[in-house]
């Protein structure tokens, strides 16, 4: 039998992310995607049940890629400061090297697809981030806090920084540019907040 053309599948995936990022989820359509990816509309339905399934699958897939990128070289047994810093660096690297994927993920995380895409990612992250936080508390490095407060203080600031960069945020004619120096400065505030 004839075998699948992996280039075709990847092409569909990449064009979908590109189109949703640049034109928005509300302007995304199967006929347009088929034309952009150079395939027949019917081909898309070989790989995806329907439009909803396509968006959901690609969302989860991109989320998993982000998770894998963030956790690269990370170990829950690491020191609190060391482990958190690795996650920060990884997350920044992912966004900078994969702008479209990062914007796509952020747009869908704030859409009605959130519920469909978040569970798998949440489980994947929780598997390592949960023990990491627990270890840091048991070792007496940080106070005993709930995971949501931890995330809000330790991770949210980084996401915010990355977003300012991606948006090309402008304040008084000065465009914000992300840098390791800025990231380290922000990281130091976070460490100061959480370390006993």
């Amino acid at each position: 039998m004839r075998q699948r053309d992996e280039n075709k599948i990847q092409g569909i995936r990449e064009k979908a992310i590109e189109m949703i990022t640049n034109e928005g989820l509300e302007n995304f359509g199967i006929n347009k995607l088929a034309k952009a990816a150079g395939v027949s509309p019917a081909t898309i339905y070989i790989y995806y049940k329907d439009k909803d399934d396509l968006i959901t699958q690609i969302s989860v897939d991109e989320g998993m890629r982000m998770c894998a990128a963030i956790l690269e070289g990370f170990d829950p047994e690491m020191t609190f400061e060391e482990g958190l810093w690795i996650q920060w660096k990884n997350r920044a690297k992912y966004s900078l090297n994969n702008q479209e994927g990062a914007s796509f993920y952020e747009q869908l995380r704030n859409s009605t697809y959130r519920e469909k895409m978040v569970k798998a990612i949440h489980d994947e992250m929780g598997k390592k981030a949960g023990p990491f936080m627990k270890n840091a508390i048991e070792r007496g490095e940080i106070n005993d806090i709930t995971i949501e407060v931890f995330w809000s203080v330790a991770i949210a600031p980084l996401y915010s920084l990355v977003r300012f960069h991606q948006e090309g945020h402008c304040f008084k004619d000065r465009i914000f540019v992300f840098s390791e120096k800025i990231m380290k400065e922000t990281f130091d505030y976070v460490i100061k907040a959480l370390k006993k």
Copy 2:
């Protein structure tokens, strides 16, 4: 001449927010909106140039309402801690009393409408938040930092907390519930991070 029915205009606005929040921007349509609001599709075009204009106008409007809510009782001359705490309380109150508006705002802020809606809001907030930060630096309450780092450390954690609440975030069968106690706990970390 006949005068405009303000209830009709408000009805269109509210139904639009309701529909976009619950069904997503990608499933939002003028014909559906007209039916839901109990008006003719043609009526909508008396008030809005086209679909894009409707979404943009309602986005900016909701953003301005949020700004006004956040800055209620706030003064840039306030102490750093006092001023920041008021903004936190106001922002939390806005989200809790106006869940649909808050979700709507968040969804559009992460869509391709971001550029169209953000400028007016950014200006409105910057007018008071800029001097506030500057005062706090001049008084020696906090270090001299760029506005993006400030926002990421001082405000982003609150947005994150509110979002966990709105999403009904769940970790190990425990649903996260926002409370003043949790907010104060998080706020204290932020103050510890930023205060000299």
